[in-house]
């Protein structure tokens, strides 16, 4: 959580220096739900994060250097500059990159975990959706498919109060998202998303269920988005005082530190050691990331298909050589016999 927060703060600084290309998305105040849930998985398990699940990706082994390069559109970023912010993945390390159209990852993860089941592999999948994304057809079709197939999949609804500017009362008439579980015939559970240990416990129960072959669980984690949808959003639609109250009374990092100190007798030195390590890591990563260059333009044409591995630059592009010269249709060409001779 500390790493998530420090790294995002660094990104804000870089954003202000216009070193981030495009928008910046924060998970301030939601770090616990991402981190706590990801820790409930084993290395071999696969999760599919949202834009606000930076913490889950870090748990799964994504590095600050990757994140920084990606946000800065570097040529050696994990997607070589093809995708933005934290849209990237690595099936080896166990996370699959997100896609903008909301909800689509639910059916995709249904297929990932269907494969685990078909192959008898002892693996579990976890897919996050926002409160807003529950309104999409993809969410519905995906979770229903997984429920019927009893795929080993945990579906986490990360209820952070808003979808962009839209409060949940305009997203659903249901009292809570966990109420949707019944309609899919799967167990549902709700947990305090800002209590990292509660998140871990609830996710672990769902993961265990999936691993035992009991299929899908819908888990609603209650949290709060303290920043705007992205950095440019001034949150004018948020009632006065709401953000402050959450910051003051329900910050997941503060709460975890309080427990570490109170229940697990962490000392100030212990905590400072963590902070130092994190700062150092992020500093080093920033230095390295800044050194990388942008991608090579021609790389834009590679890898649409396995075969052919690359497209050709179009003829009108400087340096392609291939301009359309006046066609040469030889005298007589164009009759059947003429072509026979050629």
């Amino acid at each position: 959580m500390r790493l998530t927060r420090t790294l995002e703060e660094r990104l804000v600084a870089l954003y202000r220096q216009t070193k981030v290309v495009g928008g910046l998305f924060r998970s301030l105040g939601q770090e616990a739900d991402a981190v706590g849930s990801a820790y409930a998985l084993e290395r071999r398990d696969i999760l599919s994060p949202l834009i606000r699940n930076l913490g889950a990706m870090l748990v799964k082994g994504a590095t600050p250097l990757e994140i920084l390069r990606q946000y800065m559109a570097k040529g050696d970023s994990p997607t070589r500059g093809r995708e933005l912010n934290i849209h990237f993945g690595d099936t080896e390390r166990g996370f699959i990159g997100q896609i903008s159209p909301l909800g689509d990852m639910v059916p995709v993860m249904a297929g990932v975990t269907l494969t685990f089941k078909m192959r008898g592999e002892d693996r579990v999948g976890l897919v996050y959706v926002g409160d807003g994304a529950t309104s999409t057809g993809a969410f519905h079709e995906g979770i229903n498919f997984a429920a019927v197939q009893r795929c080993p999949l945990v579906v986490i609804v990360e209820n952070n109060g808003y979808a962009y500017s839209t409060p949940i009362a305009k997203q659903t008439a249901a009292r809570q998202f966990v109420d949707k579980a019944l309609g899919y015939g799967v167990p549902g559970e709700q947990a305090d998303g800002n209590d990292v240990l509660a998140v871990y416990d609830a996710t672990k129960r769902a993961v265990d269920r999936a691993r035992r072959g009991e299929g899908v669980t819908l888990l609603e984690l209650m949290t709060y988005r303290r920043k705007g949808h992205a950095e440019h959003d001034n949150q004018s639609y948020v009632p006065d005082g709401e953000i402050d109250r959450w910051a003051r009374e329900n910050d997941p990092v503060d709460r975890y530190i309080a427990r570490l100190v109170g229940e697990f007798s962490f000392t100030k030195t212990d905590l400072e050691a963590v902070d130092d390590r994190v700062s150092r890591e992020v500093d080093e990563a920033t230095d390295l990331a800044e050194q990388s260059g942008p991608p090579e333009a021609l790389d834009a044409l590679t890898g649409v298909y396995a075969e052919p591995p690359s497209a050709e630059p179009l003829w009108f592009r400087e340096g392609t050589g291939g301009v359309v010269d006046r066609h040469e249709r030889a005298e007589g060409w164009g009759t059947y016999s003429a072509i026979e001779e050629h």
């Binding site: 159209p101 997203q171 044409l301 009108f316």
Partner: protein
């Protein structure tokens, strides 16, 4: 009167039409209090209230379907896609339900689906698309894609008054970058009519949306450096295409370059080329050529995006080739 931006022109059209006709109302994600992701609908809620400016769940099928239903009942809904890319999520209900409703069931769908489209803004693969081809291909839909502030306003007003579904593409790169002087009064621009953006004699560039501006830049440069007189046709409406305007420019200059920001294969340039072949083949002194994006998803990093999308220099180079053919 002061000049206003392309974005403000769209907003003005919404205000005026909602004032004019109580059946016009708006729906979309975050269009109310927040005023929309690009602030196009800013101020609408205050003026017209929650009944006529509806913030919806994230449900493109739901929104488009509800618009159709309201249209059947005589309303004139204007729905916003937060990004036009998300038309893909409503593809079935748009192409199967909305497009066919009048034909198969005599049910009108007077509705507008509008939203920010196009690239050159580092938006990455899902916030930069130009998905017009799939809809131009669908009988029953109309598609409009203005390049100027004047047309943005005038065409949106016409679209809202149209008795069929109009997909109204707004180029997000143009939102705040271009301005125009709005004609006084009830300014409408007819759907289905192209515009001669620049008169010329030696060759024609047929284009629309963002690349109209690249074509104009190229024409300027070609005039200065090569002494070429280039005509630029801004299609404005993509469905129905203005066949007369297309044939007229071909027959005038005998050389045609089609430019669009969309990817190449299956993009609109093909359709236009076919129409030119059918009706004006004998007037062609050279092949119809096209400058388009490369056939890849649109990448995000500046050097990549710039490489994939058509640039002014590409238009210049292609035009020179064509002129020399």
């Amino acid at each position: 009167m002061a000049e206003i931006t392309y974005l403000e022109a769209i907003r003005e059209a919404l205000f005026e039409e909602m004032e004019r006709d109580p059946n016009v109302f708006c729906m979309g994600e975050d269009i109310g209090r927040y005023g929309g992701a690009f602030k196009v609908t800013d101020g609408l809620l205050d003026k017209f209230g929650e009944q006529r400016v509806i913030d919806t769940p994230i449900s493109e099928i739901g929104i488009v379907g509800a618009a159709a239903g309201a249209g059947h009942m005589g309303m004139r809904p204007v729905v916003e896609m937060q990004f036009i890319d998300f038309l893909a999520n409503a593809y079935d209900i748009l192409t199967n339900y909305v497009a066919t409703a009048r034909y198969r069931a005599f049910l009108p769908c007077p509705m507008v689906v509008r939203g920010p489209s196009g690239g050159y803004v580092r938006g990455g693969p899902f916030h930069s698309q130009n998905p017009e081809a799939g809809f131009v291909h669908t009988p029953g839909l109309k598609v409009v894609y203005p390049a100027t502030a004047e047309d943005a306003k005038g065409l949106l007003k016409s679209a809202i008054r149209d008795d069929d579904c109009v997909l109204f593409f707004e180029h997000k790169y143009l939102y705040r970058r271009i301005k125009g002087q709005m004609p006084a009064g009830d300014h409408t621009v007819p759907i289905g009519k192209a515009r001669v953006a620049r008169e010329g004699r030696d060759l024609s560039i047929i284009t629309y949306a963002s690349t109209v501006w690249k074509a104009l830049e190229a024409a300027e440069l070609l005039e200065k450096e090569d002494g070429l007189s280039v005509e630029v046709i801004d299609l404005r409406t993509l469905a129905p295409l203005d066949d007369e305007a297309i044939q007229a420019t071909v027959r005038k200059t005998n050389r045609v370059l089609i430019v669009h920001e969309d990817t190449r294969t299956g993009g609109l340039a093909g359709e236009i080329t076919a129409r030119i072949n059918e009706r004006s083949f004998a007037w062609l002194d050279a092949p119809v050529l096209r400058v388009t994006a490369h056939d890849v998803p649109l990448p995000y990093a500046p050097p990549l995006e710039d490489f994939v999308l058509p640039q002014t220099a590409d238009v210049v180079r292609a035009a020179r080739t064509l002129a020399a053919y």
